[in-house]
């Protein structure tokens, strides 16, 4: 073998100088990362793995027409290769026994630094594990600076792990979190759910918009005093809470189970009903009954979130309680902000025409869109 003589290429030198003197950030672009999310529940693991398409092209040569860009078609025809390449480099075992993965169809996602292929899978482990052994070796052979960023969720508690070339094995303990920690994390999940659950919020809004008004002679008239308005709000919020707590508990304890497509569609319909009821009330003084009846549906909706989080059998009550408290706190926060505002401007035409009518109309329309999307499993606006 002839030794390679170091030679001073003036081009290399010139570029090197500029670069070095600058100490310009090496990572002006983002370095290579993959994102691995695992949710464990008993002996099952649900996984989602986002892998940069650029890196997949580097190892699997996806750009068939050599035009410098990767299309969905080029990715799709190689999905089997991508899946076996990736899954061959991720090993999850429980108590020394390998968990077997079943893959769902490939998807894609845009992150801040480019597009990623999304692999989702369900894994079954031979036993109910108390800890997981994760071995990750994706891309380290072609890019030692690559990192696997993992987030592992177990009963509402999340841990993060970073896989590097130097640390490709990680042991994840799934021991139950302390009850207070678990309670807090469930309260947080409840809060997050009400804050991000636009459908629940919109329903509540539609129900509360007319609470500062009384129906007299086919018209909405402002309440004279604070008390009756407050009583109206309290009745509605309490009825809604009682109803969804009831069904949430029943569903979480597995006494009642409704298909999620029906529940999600019905929740969308409940928004439409609540909103339209503001135009031509079918229910008047007994609006709290509506809140109760439709609240039953929303409870089933919450329960699917709880199921996704994977409830611990031992501390189910703690988890249920925490989640409910979170949802209630979220609701109270919304009411506490909106009700005084609405009360203050209840006499204005602005409130009765624009806020009440306009807001209800928007809620009704959004409800309709969701209803169609959820009932027929179509996407209207993509």
């Amino acid at each position: 073998m002839t030794a390679y003589r170091p030679r001073l290429s003036s081009f290399f030198l010139g570029v090197a100088l500029m670069y070095l003197l600058a100490a310009f950030p090496a990572a002006a672009h983002r370095p290579s990362d993959s994102y691995l999310n695992l949710e464990t529940q008993a002996s099952r693991i649900e996984g989602r793995w986002d892998i940069p398409i650029r890196d997949l092209d580097y190892v699997l040569d996806l750009d068939q027409d050599r035009n410098g860009s990767i299309t969905w078609g080029e990715l799709r025809v190689r999905s089997k290769d991508i899946e076996s390449y990736a899954m061959g480099r991720l090993r999850i075992d429980a108590g020394g026994q390998l968990c077997q993965a079943e893959l769902n169809p490939l998807r894609a996602i845009h992150h801040s630094d480019g597009s990623y292929a999304v692999l989702t899978f369900e894994m079954v482990c031979p036993s109910n594990p108390s800890s997981l052994g994760l071995s990750y070796s994706l891309l380290f052979d072609v890019d030692p600076q690559h990192r696997g960023l993992a987030r592992i969720g177990h009963r509402g508690v999340y841990q993060t792990k970073v896989f590097t070339m130097g640390e490709p094995h990680q042991e994840v303990s799934l021991s139950d979190a302390r009850p207070t920690q678990q309670l807090l994390s469930m309260v947080r999940e409840g809060l997050v759910h009400i804050a991000l659950g636009w459908d629940h919020m919109l329903f509540l809004l539609a129900m509360l918009l007319p609470s500062v008004l009384a129906r007299r002679g086919g018209q909405w008239e402002p309440f004279e005093h604070f008390r009756p308005a407050l009583i109206d709000v309290v009745k509605i919020v309490t009825a809604f809470t009682a109803a969804h707590s009831l069904t949430l508990t029943l569903a979480a304890l597995d006494y009642v189970r409704l298909p999620s497509r029906f529940v999600e569609s019905a929740i969308a319909a409940s928004i439409v009903i609540a909103a339209l009821n503001n135009f031509r009330p079918v229910f008047r003084g007994d609006r709290w009954l509506v809140a109760f009846g439709l609240g039953l549906l929303h409870g089933f909706g919450f329960s699917s979130v709880l199921r996704d989080l994977g409830l611990p059998k031992g501390s189910l009550v703690v988890a249920l309680f925490g989640f409910n408290v979170g949802v209630e706190l979220g609701q109270l926060a919304i009411v506490a902000v909106l009700f005084p505002l609405a009360y203050a401007v209840r006499r204005s035409a602005f409130y009765r025409h624009l806020v009440l009518n306009g807001g209800s109309a928007i809620a009704a329309l959004l409800g309709c869109i969701w209803l169609i999307e959820r009932a027929f499993k179509v996407s209207l606006f993509t």
């Binding site: 570029v15 100490a23 002006a28 983002r30 370095p31 078609g73 894609a108 996602i109 960023l149 009903i273």
Partner: protein, 418 residues
């Protein structure tokens, strides 16, 4: 069918029909609802996995672009190396080509590929000198300056005439603020390279140690008689001239040299960044937006673009700031600390979180000591009124006797408030 379904459907339909009798309500609802739904969906498609509707949807544009001679060469070499991974000649050529790519594009993936090519020797205590040099280059690019200096010392012990190693060594010392040693190693370079290259090396040290005028006149002479030198080297010298001139407060001369550097090497991100800083400091953000249009891949340039856009009140600034926020967060998740300087500037000038900027610029100061690092430490100390924190930067400025008027002004402000 579920027992609740029929009454619900009935209620829903009757209520719908009633509302539909009011055309105004329907019209308003339609418009608002459509707007809201479209808005919520556009955002959703950014961060949710999706199955593209069409096979022809382009998901990613590869940085190598359409296969050309150099990418084909790299591909062939990679394949040869895969078959014979301990072939030193193949490995170092693949590593070099990748390092060149990373320098031209600023893309760190190439550094990883370069490291992978050297994997047979990477962890050895005494790899061949060529591998050791390339390892040092990769390490310094990842801001492991100490590791890089250690490797280079070994290389220079066995090959004292190795110009590449000597030059890399000098430049790391400059970044670390160790000017006396840097100057010595620039001098050792003189017999080995063209007078332009060694002159530029020395001028850089002089411009940072209170001898900027001297550096400017000497390098100008060398630059003016260097027409035969490669454009890359002339661009580099011109860039140093531009920086030195602006460092002594001569923005007009600085600008003309930076423009010349960009004519010789239009895509050079360092010169683009320096020129953008000069424009920002002269209150000319509009020109920064023109200069850096489309530079969204390189975080350092995107940062300057976002600052300029936000100063002009342009909407793109908010979007670019969001991109930067996401990228810094992603870097933190992977445990990178390469971009502390950029992140400190981002926190200080875009997020207006002076406390966080101060922490970052302090951490950054432990690794890098260049004028911008001192500036960020001084500015965030002033913004948080924690003036004593700035003293390392002030001491450094006093001992180096750097003339930069912006930095001098900041020091004066700190002293006035103490």
């Amino acid at each position: 069918m579920n027992p609740i379904a029929p009454p619900l459907t009935y209620l829903f339909l009757t209520a719908m029909i009633r509302a539909l009798r009011k055309p105004a309500v329907v019209a308003v609802a339609l418009v608002c609802g459509l707007l809201l739904a479209v808005a919520s969906q556009t955002k959703a498609s950014v961060d949710r996995p999706f199955v593209p509707a069409s096979d022809s949807l382009v998901l990613e544009n590869l940085p190598s672009g359409v296969a050309n001679a150099s990418t084909r060469q790299l591909r062939r070499l990679r394949e040869a190396l895969d078959k014979d991974p301990t072939n030193l000649a193949f490995a170092t050529r693949v590593a070099r080509l990748n390092i060149e790519q990373s320098r031209m594009t600023g893309d760190p993936r190439y550094l990883g590929h370069a490291q992978a090519a050297l994997s047979s020797w990477w962890k050895l205590n005494a790899p061949p000198a060529e591998v050791l040099f390339l390892r040092a280059v990769i390490r310094q690019s990842l801001h492991d300056f100490k590791g890089a200096l250690a490797d280079l010392k070994v290389v220079l012990r066995s090959e004292p005439q190795n110009a590449e190693a000597l030059l890399t060594y000098s430049t790391i010392l400059i970044v670390r603020g160790e000017y006396r040693e840097a100057e010595q190693s620039c001098e050792r370079l003189t017999p080995l390279v063209s007078e332009l290259v060694s002159g530029a090396c020395l001028a850089t040290v002089e411009s940072l140690t209170g001898r900027a005028r001297n550096a400017l006149s000497r390098l100008t002479t060398l630059y003016e008689r260097a027409n035969a030198e490669p454009p890359g080297e002339r661009a580099w010298a011109s860039s140093i001239l531009g920086e030195t001139a602006s460092r002594i407060g001569d923005a007009a001369e600085g600008e003309s040299y930076l423009k010349k550097a960009l004519q010789l090497s239009p895509d050079d991100s360092y010169t683009l960044g320096t020129y953008a800083d000069l424009l920002l400091d002269s209150g000319r953000p509009t020109e920064v937006v023109t200069l850096l249009r489309g530079q969204t891949q390189n975080d350092s340039l995107l940062l300057r673009l976002a600052i300029a856009e936000l100063r002009m009140g342009r909407a793109e600034g908010t979007e670019h700031a969001r991109l930067l926020r996401e990228r810094f967060a992603a870097n933190r998740r992977r445990g990178d600390s390469v971009h502390r300087r950029e992140e400190a500037r981002f926190e200080l000038m875009i997020e207006r979180n002076a406390q966080k900027a101060l922490q970052l610029s302090q951490d950054n100061w432990d690794v890098q000591r260049e004028p911008w690092d001192a500036r960020l430490l001084l500015e965030s100390a002033l913004a948080t009124r924690q003036l004593s924190v700035a003293s390392p930067a002030i001491e450094w400025l006093d001992s180096s006797r750097l003339e930069d008027p912006i930095l001098r002004n900041l020091v004066a402000q700190v002293r006035a408030r103490q």
